[in-house]
């Protein structure tokens, strides 16, 4: 990997909902080949951060670069696992249909998935142990299986950097083990993974680096270095910091205008 640019560089990123900032002045440079956990309390802006990086939310200020380019140019190299609850699982598609969507970004407009795409999709399903379920309607899957379908779809993207929004939420132990194995395998292939996670004890085991987030970056570094009582207290303790009070006021100001 002789990539001259970092997989992800975030500079002075501010994101607001209805004028109320939820992320303030985030600066980050992410190294390749790292498995990174994003942790922080509810409402800390964890999902907002990854959505803003991919341009799914408007930025109030700042910029995000993937491999030195805008997201738009590099979309193909970015994989995404949204939260499981973000879609309707009664939707009339089967497992294979969903995984093939991972190929759509590469296909471009008007082109249909080819036989080669199907072979890749099947290999991705195999990796998450779901190949026997390829023709199942997605409603007839357990929560853990649904989460693995999303993971398989992201694998089918064959991206270089992955964003995952709570891939371990509400899954059984077997699925959790299967997912972390896949994530580590991707990391060992030199891919970069940013994973929103909300369970602190497992966060310590799973991730190489941790990003402690609460409206801004509290700490970012090797798990062993940032997983300290002091920094965690700083991240989780005292929700009503000056920052969130001012944000509240800004929101009220914005709404009254």
């Amino acid at each position: 990997m002789s990539e001259p640019y970092a997989p992800l560089e975030i500079h002075d990123l501010t994101v607001a909902y209805h004028k109320k900032p939820v992320l303030w002045g985030v600066d980050l440079v992410i190294e390749p080949g790292r498995l990174i956990g994003i942790v922080g309390p509810n409402g800390a802006g964890k999902s907002t951060l990854i959505k803003a990086c991919m341009g799914l939310l408007p930025l109030q200020s700042g910029w995000v670069k993937f491999f030195g380019e805008s997201f738009h140019k590099m979309a193909r190299r970015v994989g995404y696992v949204p939260q499981r609850e973000s879609v309707d699982w009664d939707f009339p598609v089967n497992v294979m249909d969903v995984v093939l969507m991972g190929r759509y970004g590469r296909l471009g407009l008007l082109r249909r998935p080819s036989k080669a795409d199907r072979i890749i999709a099947r290999a991705c399903l195999e990796k998450v142990h779901l190949l026997p379920y390829a023709n199942r309607q997605i409603a007839n899957l357990s929560g853990g299986q649904q989460q693995r379908v999303f993971l398989a779809r992201a694998l089918a993207q064959e991206a270089d950097i992955y964003f995952m929004d709570e891939p371990f939420a509400g899954v059984d132990a077997a699925t959790e083990a299967a997912i972390i194995a896949v994530l580590r395998e991707l990391r060992d292939m030199g891919k970069t993974l940013l994973v929103v996670h909300h369970d602190l004890p497992t966060a310590r085991q799973y991730f190489d680096d941790l990003l402690l987030l609460n409206m801004n970056v509290v700490a970012f570094g090797k798990t062993a270095e940032v997983f300290t009582a002091e920094l965690l207290q700083k991240t989780y303790g005292g929700r009503l910091t000056i920052l969130s009070e001012v944000a509240q006021a800004l929101g009220a100001h914005g709404a009254s205008r």
Partner: protein, 481 residues
């Protein structure tokens, strides 16, 4: 929607009673008895019949096709709002050069429709109102303005022959050759666009966030879909009417949704249902009593939906009822087998058969009940009845052993692993015993260290005992048949 529709129906009935001219049916153009009407319809000798039929097919196709996407995108109410919002545009399109020029009306209606949908999203984005309230607001306002404009046009010296009243309830017989041309054009564009961008429509309907992350222009897809939807609402307007056109979008797609688990099949089916409903409406309006086409088409579509709801092979009411009934019957047979096992267990398996008398006592039932249950087992090859004693057949013996094993294993599991008291586990095991598959049982056995006794001290039948001394394991959850 239902309130608007019922009010509209009331207006219609009054109109029909007071002025027969307004009671528009294809039949008013030709009058004879209904058997000759059927012949005339089927032979397509009249141009008006041909236009009505072709128009109905085209609108059914485009509405069914695009309706599929608004149903799976949970935008069904948007279709309703859109259909009402286009009415002022229809009136303004007419006023443009004071004729029913289809193209001017299409353009006017499309602009009004898009303005309406824009207002809905603007209201829900900028205020604290949610989309449902915004839809209701826009729908009513635009419809009211439209009604006023249409009424004013009707009062104009040239207006009473405008035929704009047909836009309210629909009259397929009022379609002209130009209308048909436009309908064909819009439907063709809709089909081509859906086929060409099927992949994008699928992805952005299922998971908009992911679709944007892979660079799909989801916003443009949405706008494109709304534009096609508006156009197909407008072409359907004259035949179905403002009040009911949203039903032609929603009903065929909803029926198809109950019948299939794949979007491409849903789309094709919905289009076919739309065509069927359209043709049925045109036919009934022609041969039947003087009724407008729109309501008849919608009733046709609703009949299809009802059929799907009741008789759908997987999600249908009847199918689910049959499945439950079959499941209940199987559970009952398995319970009888279990009782036979218990009776034999009480004598340390020294007897071969189980008398109906012993079975009845065990089950606290009458001999007649026991006999009925026994016959049911015989019918399914699980036991033989000789004299007044039941004997297991090999599959019956196997299943009985499995059920008893499942029950006792599950009780043991609950008491050991879930710390539930031994006197609390029986009820739960009564249900679980029938649904435990062979792989779960293997897992339970392993977790419980191949225990041989349940929490009440009774022996758990081993695989050997179940398979009659033959330790060969047959996989799968026995069906008891």
């Amino acid at each position: 929607m239902s309130r608007t529709a019922s009010r509209a129906l009331l207006i219609l009935l009054v109109a029909a009673a007071t002025s027969p001219v307004e009671a528009a049916g294809v039949r008013e153009f030709v009058s004879s008895d209904w058997s000759t009407q059927i012949v005339r319809f089927l032979t397509l000798q009249d141009a008006s019949v041909r236009f009505a039929l072709i128009g109905s097919v085209l609108l059914g196709l485009s509405c069914g096709l695009l309706g599929s996407f608004i149903v799976v995108r949970k935008m069904a109410l948007m279709g309703d709002a859109l259909s009402h919002a286009v009415l002022p545009g229809v009136a303004i399109g007419f006023l443009w050069n004071m004729t029913k020029d289809p193209l001017a009306i299409l353009i006017g209606a499309t602009i009004a429709g898009l303005l309406g949908t824009f207002l809905v999203s603007a209201i829900s984005r900028t205020t604290r109102l949610k989309e449902d309230a915004a839809l209701g607001l826009v729908l009513a306002t635009f419809f009211a303005i439209g009604i006023c404009l249409v009424t004013m046009i009707q009062r104009l010296p040239t207006g009473n022959k405008s035929g704009l009243d047909k836009f309210l309830f629909g009259q397929a017989a009022a379609l002209s050759a130009e209308d048909i041309t436009l309908m064909a054009l819009v439907t063709t564009i809709a089909v081509v666009m859906v086929v060409a961008f099927y992949k994008e429509l699928l992805a952005s309907s299922f998971d908009p966030g992911f679709s944007r992350s892979i660079g799909l222009p989801t916003r443009w897809i949405h706008h494109g879909l709304m534009l096609l939807l508006t156009a197909s609402v407008v072409i359907a307007l004259q035949a179905v009417g403002v009040v009911l056109v949203s039903a032609m979008l929603i009903t065929p797609a909803s029926a198809a949704y109950l019948l299939t688990d794949r979007l491409h099949r849903l789309v094709v089916m919905a289009a076919a249902f739309g065509v069927g409903a359209g043709m049925a409406g045109a036919f009934l309006s022609f041969v039947g009593p003087s009724l407008p086409t729109g309501p008849l088409m919608v009733i046709g579509a609703s009949a299809l939906f009802s059929a799907a709801f009741l008789f759908g092979p997987r999600h249908g009411v009847v199918a689910r009822w049959m499945l439950r009934r079959r499941g209940a019957a199987r559970t009952q047979r398995e319970n009888t087998l279990k009782s036979m096992f218990h009776v034999m267990e009480a004598t340390q398996f020294r007897t071969e058969g189980v008398t109906l008398h012993d079975l009845a006592i065990r089950r606290r039932e009458t001999i007649d009940d026991a006999q009925r249950l026994g016959r049911d087992l015989v019918r399914h090859g699980l036991a033989t009845l000789s004299g007044d004693a039941l004997y297991f057949t090999p599959p019956g013996r196997k299943r009985a052993g499995e059920i008893v094993r499942n029950h006792r294993l599950w009780e043991l599991y609950l008491t050991q692993s879930a710390n539930i008291a031994a006197d609390h586990v029986h009820e739960d095991a009564e249900k679980i015993e029938h649904i435990l598959g062979e792989s779960v049982v293997r897992d339970l056995e392993r977790r419980l260290g191949y225990a041989t006794f349940d929490p009440h001290g009774r022996a758990i039948p081993s695989a050997r005992a179940i398979h009659g001394g033959d330790a060969r394991r047959e996989g799968g959850n026995g069906t008891g048949k």
